[in-house]
Each structure stands twice: as C-alpha cells, then as structure tokens.
C-alpha cells in the first residue's frame, strides 16, 4: 500500500498524455486476448493483403491474419517481455545496489567496478553475444536482456540507498540497537524500491526497443507469436505492395517508446535541478535587455 502510494505520488507532475498512452498500453496488454476481434494467428489466404475495412479494421497481412488483433496481441508480448526482463534485472540490480549502499567499503568497490564494466558496454551488444553463444529463443532473449540491463539498476539503487543510509532515522535505528537485517529489510529496501521502480518505468522504453530490435533480427520472439518488430520484418518483403503492414507495427512501437521516453525526460528534469526556471530566465533576459537599451541611450 505504501509502495503504491509512493509510486502514485512520484508519478504526479508527469506529462498526462504519456501516462495515458502507457495506461492504454498496459490495459491492452493485459486484456489483449479477451478483446481481439479475430484470432491473431488464424491464416486466411483468401483474405490476404486487405486494406482498411469493416471486417478487418486495419486490414490483413500477406497471410490473411487480422492486423488489428495482431497489434493488440503484440502489446501483450511486449508488455510481458518488458515485465519479465525488468523483474529479473531489478532483483539483481536492487539486491547488489542496496548491498553496496548498505555496506560501503570493499563490498561497494567490488560491486561497483563490476557494474561499471557492465555499464561501459552497450546492453544490446551483450545480449547479442549471449544469444550468439547460447542460442536463439524467447527465454534466452529474456535472460540475455536481463543480464545486460541490471548494471543500470544497480547503479541507481546504490545511489538511492546511500542517501537513505545517510538519513538520521537510520542512525537512530542503529543507536536503538536494531539488527542489520531489520534496517536492511524494514527500512533500506522499501525506501529504495519505490524510487528505483519509477526510474525503471522510465527506462522501459529502451527495453521495449531492444525486444523489438532482437525480434526484428529474428533472435527474440519467434513466429508465429505476434510482436511489433517481428511483424515488421515479416511484412518487409511486401513493403512496396503493402506498406501499411510495415507502418502500423512501427507506429505502435514508436508511440509506446515515445511515451516512455517523454516520461523519462520529465523524470530527468524533475530530478536534476534545472539551472533556472523559465520565468526567472525571462526576467533576467528582460533585465539584460533593459540594461543594453539604457547603454544605447547613454551613447546617443
């Protein structure tokens, strides 16, 4: 309950449009199979390549599958993928990050050096290499992405955990004789989790992109499971005759990523103190303009 409240509190002040898009994404993702008008996997070559219409709202692809239903099902695939990767990466990242923030000293050093090496390399190249060694497949993609993603979470968790550890109530707990386990699980972990969750939400855009990219390359979600990147590569050979089937999944994916990134941008703006608010800036500018006008007046 406290966690939910904290999440809602931290979401206040974010662009409502982005939040609504993401809300719709989540709803469609969860309810997907119950609201699709057609079976997303059912092929019907007689109805292949249709345009927009009453029966198939957004048309059909080259195998006669209903595009609208496939787009909706893709949202679910993407959402489930993001959630799984996030869950695994968050458990590793939060665990190591809070441990480093709690202990400091050499534990901190070791964990952060490993994290630094992980952060120095682009996550997609790590995921690609792991898939290349251990083979393609849905679960290999999930695990590879999670292993590529945790360093970012570890870094944030550590930063949050160190500020929490410096707060007076932790010191008071120590003086009271609270056990390390109580401080860690009762105070440090809950306080860190909320902020890191918000950060993770904003970071999910990059994850959605990575899942789609890997699927586009044929290394992630395998056909016939609908996924935006995989739908796109599936219809790419028919780009000239039927561009709609390439554009629609691309647009859906872009919309979700834009929403995530919009959220992330405002998050960065909220967290990092801006040099000066717009109003103050304008005031200063006017002042400067006034002075230069005055200078001109003196000259004349």
């Amino acid at each position: 309950m406290r966690l939910a409240h904290k999440l809602r509190e931290s979401l206040a002040g974010f662009p409502p449009l982005a939040l609504w898009v993401l809300f719709a994404f989540a709803v469609v993702g969860v309810l997907g199979p119950y609201i699709v008008p057609h079976d997303p996997l059912k092929q019907n070559l007689l109805a292949a390549g249709q345009g927009f219409g009453w029966d198939h709202w957004l048309g059909t692809d080259h195998l006669g599958r209903d595009t609208f239903s496939r787009l909706i099902t893709s949202a679910r695939t993407s959402l489930v993928g993001i959630t799984l990767v996030m869950a695994i990466a968050l458990v590793i990242g939060l665990g190591l990050g809070t441990l480093a923030g709690y202990h400091r000293g050499w534990v901190d050093e070791v964990i952060m050096r490993v994290t630094d090496v992980g952060l120095a390399m682009p996550s997609l190249i790590i995921a690609l290499a792991m898939i290349g060694i251990f083979g393609t497949g849905y679960w290999n993609m999930i695990i590879a992405l999670a292993l590529a993603w945790w360093p970012a979470f570890a870094r944030v968790s550590r930063a949050v955990a160190t500020t929490v550890m410096n707060k007076p109530h932790i010191e008071a707990l120590r003086v009271m004789g609270a056990s390390p386990l109580r401080i860690y699980f009762g105070h440090l972990l809950p306080a860190t989790t909320g902020s890191v969750l918000v950060y993770a939400t904003a970071d999910a855009g990059g994850l959605a992109l990575s899942i789609a990219t890997l699927s586009f390359l044929g290394l992630g979600v395998q056909p016939p499971t609908p996924e935006w990147g995989q739908m796109l590569v599936d219809s790419l050979p028919y780009l000239e005759s039927d561009p709609r089937q390439v554009i629609l999944p691309g647009l859906a994916l872009t919309l979700v990523v834009v929403a995530f990134n919009f959220l992330g941008e405002s998050l960065a703006l909220n967290r990092v103190p801006r040099p000066l608010p717009a109003k103050l800036l304008r005031l200063r500018r006017d002042e400067a303009a006034g002075w230069s006008a005055l200078a001109k007046g003196v000259k004349a």
């Binding site: 120095a120 290349g132 855009g205 780009l239 994916l253 040099p275």
Partner: protein, 313 residues
Amino acid sequence: MLRFVFGRARNAAVLLVLASMLCFGLVVSAPGNVAVLVAELRTPGATFAQIAVIEEELGLNDPLPIRYANWLSGVTEGDFGISYKTGADVGDAMAGRLSVTATLLAGAAGFAVLLSLGLGFLGALRPYGVVDTLTRAVALVGASTPTFFLGAMLIYGFALSLGWFPTFGFGDGLRSWILPWISLGMLPGCVLSRIVRVGLEEEMTRPFALTARAKGLTRNVILFRDALPNIAPAYLNALGAQATAMTVGSVVIEPLFAWPGVGALFLQGVQFRDFMVVQAGLLIFISFFILLNLAVDIAVMFLDPKLRRQGGH
C-alpha cells in the same frame, strides 16, 4: 598532461585485457564440444578417434590459461581462427568488411553531428518559442523511433516511391550511402540535440553571459562565440556514447540495406551460433568502444582548460 594521457591509456589497456578474457570465456563456456563441430566440418560422420585427434590439434586438452595465451597471441596477429560453420578464416572475413562499417559509422556520425547542432541551435536561438517546442518534439520522436522502422520508411519513401536512391547495396557510391547514414544517424542526432539545447541554455544563464550582454554583445553572438566552446566537452562525451550506440546499430542497418559490413557478419554469427565469428565480432566491437572512449577522454582534456591545467601539474 602526459601523465593524464598515460593514466588513461593504462586504464584502457587493462580494460582491453578484461574484454579479451570475457570474449574467450564466453566461447569456452559455450555448450557443446567444438571438436565435434570441426570434425563434422572436415569429414561427415567422424569417429571418436578422429574427434580426439582434432581435440589435440585445436589444443582443447591444454589448461585454460595456456589456451587463452595461445588464442590471444593469435588474435594480436589478426588470427581469429576459422569459422566452425563454414570453415572460412574469420580474421580475413572481418578485415575485408572493416571499411564498409567505417563508411557507415563515419557518415552516420557526421549526419548526427550536423542534425544535433542544427536542432539544438534552432531551439537555443529562441528559447521556449514555437521553434524550440517544435525541435523538442522532433528530437523526442526521433530519439524514440526504432532504427529499423525509420530505415524501412526511408526505403519506402525515397527509394521505392520517389526512386531517388537505390533500395539497398553499398557499391553505388554516395547515392547508396545516404539512406543508411540517415537511418543510423537520426536517433543519436536527436539525443545529442537535447545535449546542445540544454547545455547552451545552461551556459546562457551563467554570469559571464550577462556580463557580455551588458557590454553590448547580442545574444546570438554570445551563443556562438562563448557558449558553444563551453559545451564542447559535454558534447564530445555524449558523442562518444552515441558512437557506441551507432556501432551496435550497424548490426541492424547493415542487413537492412544489404551492406557487407562487420555488423552483418556478426549478426550472421549470432543467428547461426558461429562462435568464432561472434567472438571476433564482440572483441572488435568492444576494443573499438574502449579506444573510442580513450580518444574522447584525451580530446576532452585538450578542449577543457580546467582539466588541461590539472593534468599539467
């Protein structure tokens, strides 16, 4: 100053060794027996005796440190071993493809720099105006569009519909390079434009800008003459990070435009689990990242007077 360069170079060397260990470790930990693959490649239906001979020949029975040393000494001479799928020499295949990937990266980076400076300055000239809001929206959408989607749209728009550029290929010179450059450079360019825009605004709020205004310089002059050099270090750092991202993007763009580059070969290696190709590709990519970071660090030091003076002591 020299000490700074040496320090950074030493760090980079340590990272290179770590990266080589990682690449070696990945292939060693791969499931399955490499000798079986090689034996099948030479004689289909190989016997256990033949496999044992090959195990000995490849040095698979040696202790790990010795195998690592042998492999590393080969790599430093450009010998990445042979592909376990095709039997081709991996080092030769990579070397022939480097120039293609270099063309792609250089062009895309050039486009990204032009785009970011253009968008960033357009926004900074009239902050919080209509143009600023527009460039911000363009940057947000551009930074969120998947590379492969943008590439497909560019092919549809400019190659298939308008016929200005070829749909794929590398050989036709500049005409066939433009679309891949734009596809790959768009996302980094948009990300960098925000760095330019925010950095410039930050500089303009500093006291020296007010002083310059008071002395009668116009805002635009301060923007170009004083603010631009000040954001150069931050910009270069971000450019380095984006160049890394673009290198990864080559894995997507090269197959899309059928360019015979390192990224395309790496992707083939990943798709067919060709360990030696994956290993070589990964090592080349990571070494490039490390050297790039080193170059950025040194360039930033030369550009930033504060760091330059610290390094001198």
